[in-house]
């Protein structure tokens, strides 16, 4: 007759095994389907203004917002995608028109837009980015700077067809 021994070591081992499978399952949800689409972040759409103009630079610049846009599944870079960017900067608050601008991705799916220095607002130094052109599902991102002293910030989009 076999008896199941329920001691602390067995429980810990079993618990650890369950945790490991559970967590890895959560971290890699799309292994079978390839690259998973980026979900919108909470608060990402705050103070969004539709149709920000495409610009060479927002205001006087000095800070770089950059990132990539790829297609969900195969991860192919998406060229010519319009990304809108806004933040609370040294030249304006989040909701003000001069704080908003848009740029297009290059042939490698990368974008890079110079803007004024981002300033902590509502307790965190952060920027806002949006893909909202219709071909793919809308995504709003809200990346946070590790330090308010940083002069660049990145955000990456993986888009799925609308």
């Amino acid at each position: 007759m076999t008896s199941v021994v329920l001691n602390r070591r067995n429980l810990l081992a079993a618990g650890g095994a369950v945790l490991a499978t559970g967590v890895s399952g959560l971290l890699l949800p799309a292994r079978a389907e390839g690259l998973a689409p980026t979900a919108s972040m909470p608060g990402g759409a705050n103070n969004y203004r539709k149709g920000a103009p495409t610009v060479d630079r927002i205001g006087k610049g000095g800070f770089w917002m950059s990132g990539t846009v790829r297609r969900a599944g195969d991860g192919a870079p998406l060229a010519g995608q319009r990304i809108q960017i806004w933040a609370h900067t040294t030249e304006g608050q989040e909701h003000e028109p001069q704080s908003h601008g848009a740029t297009l991705t290059d042939k490698n799916g990368a974008f890079r837009l110079e803007m004024p220095q981002i300033i902590p607002i509502f307790g965190q130094p952060h920027g806002h980015l949006a893909y909202d052109s219709g071909e793919f599902k809308t995504v709003f991102l809200r990346p946070v700077m590790r330090s308010a002293k940083e002069t660049s910030l990145e955000a990456h989009f993986v888009l799925q067809p609308a």
Binding site: P42, G43, N46, N47, H88, Q93, I119, P120, F122, G123
Partner: protein, 204 residues
């Protein structure tokens, strides 16, 4: 000698509250904020200062105030705390409505928001129950059982909220004020417990 000690205690309390406010007033971030946002921020800092005064008053640690006067002042400061929180939240709402709505609905991406919102509701709850205590016919014992946990929620919520925020407050003076708030709360809770135990022993 005695009066020197009295002066020292009051000066220390004034410094604990005024130094963080003065330090925040020199923050470079203020240059890029509107007047309403600045007011809202300082209302929050003042609220944290008032949270320090409350346990000191009720513990009787401030010299020159009788137990009665201490309790009366505690009530008034409680009212001022509600006002400061209303100005804080209202000002932030005017500054950026979507960010404030996210915070109040617990959907904000900022980790400090829920702590502040929970502390706010605890402050409102204490104020409302305190105002209605007589009408509700709450006995002092019952009131204590209600107030103590809410006071702990207010203190912990306010301190975590303040520490996690990257704003106009200067780091060291903010940490010092938060440490004092925690220390004063722990001290008064411990002292009141001892006093109550002694009182029940005497009754036996």
């Amino acid at each position: 000698m005695r009066s020197a000690k009295v002066t020292l205690i009051w000066a220390a309390l004034a410094a604990a509250i005024c130094v963080p406010i003065a330090a925040a007033a020199t923050s470079p971030l203020l240059a890029w904020r509107g007047p309403v946002y600045i007011l809202a921020g300082f209302a929050g800092i003042i609220a944290l200062g008032l949270v320090l005064v409350q346990p000191l008053l009720i513990g009787g640690y401030l010299p020159g105030l009788s137990a009665y006067r201490g309790r009366r002042t505690h009530h008034w400061i409680g009212g001022a705390l509600v006002l400061a929180v209303v100005v804080h939240v209202g000002g932030l709402w005017i500054t950026s409505p979507p960010d404030m709505i996210d915070a109040l609905t617990f959907t904000s991406p900022t980790p400090f928001s829920p702590w502040g919102v929970i502390a706010m509701w605890a402050i409102f709850a204490v104020a409302i129950i305190a105002a209605l205590r007589r009408r509700l016919g709450l006995r002092l014992r019952t009131w204590r059982i209600v107030h103590m946990p809410l006071a702990i929620v207010i203190v912990v919520g306010s301190v975590v909220h303040g520490i996690l925020i990257e704003g106009t407050m200067e780091t060291v003076s903010k940490a010092a004020l938060c440490a004092l708030v925690l220390a004063a709360t722990v001290k008064v809770m411990a002292d009141l417990r001892v006093r109550r135990k002694r009182a029940t022993l005497e009754l036996r």
